[in-house]
Symmetry: C2
Subunit: 375 residues, 2 copies
DNA sequence: CCTCTTGCCGAAACCGGTTTCGGTGCGGAA
DNA sequence: TTCCGCACCGAAACCGGTTTCGGCAAGAGG
């Protein structure tokens, strides 16, 4: 006769506790605990027996119970900033996937919080620390001078940067070498025949912005072009800002035939503005962005850009942070990788000289001002 | 003389513990605990004193310590599926922002994990439950027959759906009424003059897919058009699938002058295919999607679609889940909202009749088959 | 042969809460 | 006056681990 599952009352097997393991071996839970935690005053033979029995019973220490004594919860913390700027938003899922799969491989968990402002972020991190919800933090979107770093240093809480910062003392990090990407982009444009290559930087204060600007400059000098502030803009990481800066650069005496942008959203703004001026992007004007946002693949022409593998970044960061929490030296916990160039239609050989471009832009803006005299 | 901060050794004030509160009031920690947890055998005057002193000392129970006895960690769990299908990916950040801000308002936290397959997801949820890392779950992307629901029901773990399911028994949920959106879309297209309105459904098995299809049918009948299987496709939630289905629908004897899609990615595929056939989207063929993905704003013409407020969804879901965990009846925990129509260029009055469209498509595909004979 | 290490493990306290159980003081009824 | 019941709180066990301290036995050294 078959025994039916008792529908509403199915009891799952209770967890094995440390005392179960101890009892099964005729030891005390103190011994089991020390055996599993690598204490040296336990003989290797006993340690092996304990390990084996624990595996057999499927015993895993309950992290909450450990946390109450040790203060550590085997949990990685991350506070996402979800303010007005929408940079990196589409990659959050992949990034978290990387973090959480590396974390769960070590039986850690990921505690996620969000904040809108910087103060909010600091307060939120403070709460997570105070409540012992996170043993350490992943800090994305690092700034040149980052308040989060100051705070965590002061409290001696482990952390790892996605990015770098001005003073890397005691900082573990993983970063994509945006400077190298920018050098490569300049070389690429130069190779296509461009001799006036402009640049629009990203958000002020962010470290990524600084290194990408530096990369642009390095690239310009490497190919033997003069650095001309008239075709260099900055502080633009939105479509609107990109449009505004595009106007400025294109109004220069010797306008750029190619514009390199620190972010894709800025680059998309440049494209939009260029088209509004009657310029064919990827012909009259070339544009290269950075980030690999999905929108770029759908603009016309598709945006040439640098793709970042957010999942891999998450994997690395989680591993680094766990090692950091376990006490490794931050100087040994620094890794970098490269972005992948996506050569798409927005970057091509120049079809106009800078002088012709200047004429075209003048006509286009001139006509507009005729329609709206005196503004 | 100023006392300098001792740079490396800054000790933050230790947390107030329950015994501190008890001692300050001359009570035992048992009394304090019961007072704060609403036990009735504590006089109101004592309860007030305890509350006041706890606030004064900044005392908050440590959730880990509570968890060890109560089994509840004041943590919401969510497992994101990050497989090949890239639906909803861009909204994850907003969604999590909603969840986490509602959670932290009640002093709960959000534990995030990811999975690639369905088995992986069930295993991951099982681990979170077993380790008591999550007291309940938010289940996004619900299916008509959802294994996660079966599992959580069996284990009596609270959960709340983002979406609905075939058997809503014991289910709390928040959902966007996709059926209403589809009705509205059909009405809108009909109002523009379309008389042949096709439809392409979303992922098989997902509940959203079922309700949107139903909405299309309701709309078609409401405006008095016949339901014609020849211009209805399904199972398409990617660009490629959208292109494939577009081919099929446009090859019908009486092709649609407008195609409504259950997802934006599918709709973008339709647009791409239509353009490849020489059709002007938003003229020769109208297209409406659903989801509000950012790519839609950058395609040409921009995609008409329905925007979902993921942050608000997260807020509602977190609140519902917390109430569910606290024991409220699931039938009382059901909320719905509407998507917002974004009327953009891809949907306009028809510029061709269905018959003309048929001719055009035949010529376009005909020329192609001339170039590649016998195939 | 006796002491002194050293290796190895048990006993018990502890972490910060929750929950069970029992006891006290008081008012009202007998 | 005595007994009973109720309102209210304290004492102690408990949750599942970790860590301190000390003790025992075996081997080394004198």
């Amino acid at each position: 006769m078959l025994v039916r599952d008792s529908e509403p009352e199915e009891r799952r097997a209770p967890r094995a506790r440390i005392s179960d393991v101890a009892q099964a071996l005729g030891l005390t839970k103190a011994t089991v605990s020390r055996a599993l935690n690598g204490y040296t005053d336990i003989s290797e033979s006993t340690r092996a027996r304990v390990r084996h029995k624990a595996a057999e019973l499927g015993y895993t220490p309950l992290s909450h119970a450990q946390a109450i004594r040790t203060g550590r919860a085997r949990s990685l913390g991350i506070v996402l900033q979800v303010g007005d700027q929408d940079g990196q938003r589409p990659f959050v899922a992949d990034f978290l996937a990387g973090l959480s799969s590396a974390a769960s491989a070590e039986n850690w968990t990921l505690t996620v919080a969000t904040a809108t402002t910087e103060e909010d972020m600091l307060a939120t991190m403070g709460r997570l620390i105070d409540e012992r919800k996170a043993d350490g933090f992943v800090l994305p979107r690092t700034k040149v001078a980052d308040e989060r770093i100051r705070m965590l240093r002061r409290l001696s809480i482990p952390f790892v940067l996605f990015g770098r910062t001005a003073d890397p003392e005691s900082c573990a990090y993983f970063d994509i070498l945006g400077e190298d990407a920018m050098v490569l982009a300049v070389r690429h444009l130069h190779g296509l025949g461009h001799r006036r290559i402009g640049y629009i930087g990203g958000g002020d204060g962010f470290y990524y912005s600084a290194v990408r600007s530096a990369g642009y400059r390095t690239g310009i000098e490497a190919v033997g072009l003069p650095f001309d502030p008239a075709i260099v803009g900055g502080g633009a990481y939105t479509v609107d800002a990109g449009m505004r800066e595009a106007d400025r650069l294109l109004a220069a005496d010797e306008p750029p035939t190619a514009i390199l942008c620190a972010t894709d959203m800025c680059a998309l703004g440049v494209c939009r503005r260029a088209m509004a001026l009657g310029l064919r992007v990827g012909g009259d004007l070339s544009v290269i962005g950075y980030d690999g946002v999905p929108e770029g693949a759908w603009s016309t022409p598709p945006l040439a850009t640098f793709e970042v593998d957010s999942r891999v970044a998450g994997l690395h960061l989680a591993n680094l942070l766990i090692r950091r929490i376990r006490g490794e030296n931050p100087a040994d916990l620094r890794e970098t990788a490269h972005a992948r160039f996506l050569d798409r239609g927005s970057a091509a050989r120049p079809m106009m000289s800078s002088a012709e471009l200047r004429e075209h832009v003048a006509r286009a803006t001139g006509r507009r001002s005729e329609r709206r005299p005196d503004r």
